[in-house]
């Protein structure tokens, strides 16, 4: 209000430039004020608490959960190393490393499979006549907006020992014993693929939609075979979509909690479950904090990779 008053009471000699500058200052301040409630809520209940996680990762664990306010790097050491209880030597924390490795491997495989299935699907949608295209796209979007837990539950019913797949296979006499898919890495990967596939198809479609398909025809006219057209014409054009889709599938897969918990059971944990465990039965909050930050750093690196590559692809046909 003070700035407002000065502008109004300013003598007429004030130059237009000064008035404009004053207006801009006031405008900027008002824009900050309008954003303030959203920022306050986010800082209170999302951004701020992340800072506390960093602090907690450097504290000593309390006996019954919680922490003692004593500086310690034990949590960070125990992310990767473990101290032998008998001879006090340091070794690699195999349990953690195997979970890191599983998380990375399953997320990578999920992304790869999503690309293999999602690419033709996006191509199919992009080549439909305009009228039906919206409908196909809607069909991809619906599962994306429905509850992830329910979709995990749906895929679980399909792959369970008593589930549809096994019932049909046994009914047809192909197998006598149900295939044990549940509680394996395969189950977790299938679940992740099922729940995150739309995240691959949508950005792929977005970049394919803009392809001028005459270019593809031109490729064929110049005697390129299908593989060459795919590699030399289509792929370079949809590269941004491939990168965006891969990142969008990889990141939530890496931090997945619900899908591995429901489909993997206790033995096939991923990083998300390991983190949760430290705040439950594990009662090691500093370790849980250190693991959370580790996960966040990996995700940030993936995002930076994406931003860097998305920036590069700024110049492209279309």
């Amino acid at each position: 209000m003070a700035a407002n008053a000065t502008v109004k009471s300013a003598p007429p000699a004030t130059s237009a430039a000064e008035a404009a500058a004053a207006f801009e200052r006031r405008d900027t301040r008002n824009r900050w004020l309008l954003s303030a409630p959203a920022l306050a809520i986010l800082f209170f209940a999302s951004i701020g608490p992340l800072g506390i996680v960093v602090v907690y990762s450097f504290l000593t664990k309390g006996g019954y959960g919680g922490v003692e306010w004593k500086f310690s790097t034990d949590a960070w050491a125990s992310v990767f190393f473990t101290r032998d209880i008998f001879d006090d030597t340091l070794g690699f924390a195999d349990a953690h490393l195997s979970i890191f490795w599983r998380s990375l491997r399953l997320s990578f495989l999920t992304t790869l499979l999503a690309l293999v299935v999602g690419f033709p699907t996006a191509y199919f949608i992009a080549t439909r006549p305009e009228k039906t295209r919206a409908l196909w796209l809607f069909l991809i979007t619906i599962p994306f907006w429905t509850n992830l837990l329910i979709r995990t539950f749906a895929i679980m019913e399909v792959i369970r020992n008593e589930g549809i797949v096994n019932s049909i296979l046994i009914g047809l006499g192909i197998i006598d014993q149900p295939l044990q898919i549940m509680f394996t890495d395969t189950a977790v990967m299938l679940g992740l693929l099922y729940v995150y596939l739309p995240l691959m198809v949508l950005p792929l479609y977005a970049s394919m939609e803009r392809i001028d398909f005459r270019l593809v025809e031109a490729g064929y006219d110049l005697y390129a075979n299908r593989l060459q057209v795919l590699r030399r014409v289509i792929l370079p054009l949809v590269k941004p979509g491939v990168i965006a889709g891969s990142i969008l599938v990889f990141i939530p897969s890496l931090g997945a909690y619900v899908t591995p918990r429901v489909l993997g059971g206790g033995r096939n944990m991923m990083l998300g479950n390991l983190i949760e465990l430290q705040f439950g039965q594990g009662r090691n909050w500093p370790l849980g904090s250190a693991l959370s930050i580790t996960l966040m750093v990996v995700v940030m690196v993936a995002l930076l990779f994406y931003v860097k590559n998305a920036g590069k692809s700024g110049v492209r046909h279309g």
């Binding site: 506390i52 996680v53 699907t121 619906i142 025809e217």
Partner: protein, 267 residues
Amino acid sequence: MARAHFDVKKQTGFTTIALFCFVMLYAPILTLVVYSFNAGTSIAIWEGFSWRWYESAFANEQVQDAAIRSVIIASFAAFVSTIVATMAALATTRTRPFTGITFIFASINQPLMVPEIVTGVALLIFFAIIKIETGYTGLAYLLIAHTAFCIPFAYLPIRARLENMDLSLERAAADLYATPWRTFRYVTLPLLWPGILAGGMLAFVISLDDVVITELVKSAGQDTLPTYMLGQMRRIMTPEMNAISTVFLAISILMVTVFFLLNRKKS
């Protein structure tokens, strides 16, 4: 000659995989819906049509309790996040870049960039501190947590709508001596309304669907429908779960359809 008739838009291999993909996406959901009407207690052996699991789900007090809590939290989170997101969207669109605008963008989008499990753990720690200091263990923790992660979802459609609106009508209102408030109330708001509604509905669905953050933040006896279902998944399941899921799915699909229609009108 065959080459001349070659159609790039018909790639049989791709079409087969695409159709397979659609079947893969919908078959499990359809199976789940079908077995919610099973007369038997199995979720794999069909024993005839019945509404019994819907009746038992509606009569189940834990389900009622969790469903009501879910709706309360989602309504609150959608309402508050949509209001603050609308304000933030008005502040950050149709302007020259100003000092700090990137900071505001980054802050608003932050919940989308950090894995849910990390946000959940951060809130668990932070709220544990507050719980010890104040002794309060009510629903407010879940309300504020949901409001925070709903903000980017409410913000995006509103911002998209605003960016497609030009300023000329508002300038005209101002030229005709409308106060800023009246300009907003009678010009900006009616034009922006579909975006606000879309943002609010998206926020509602996102809050309704949340499992991870709720699971970590909730105190004892504060189950929402998804966390109740997650808890039930450890036991032997009956088609009651399918019935709850089907109702849940129906609500989500309805809201998403309306969301799409709202967004389509714009273009």
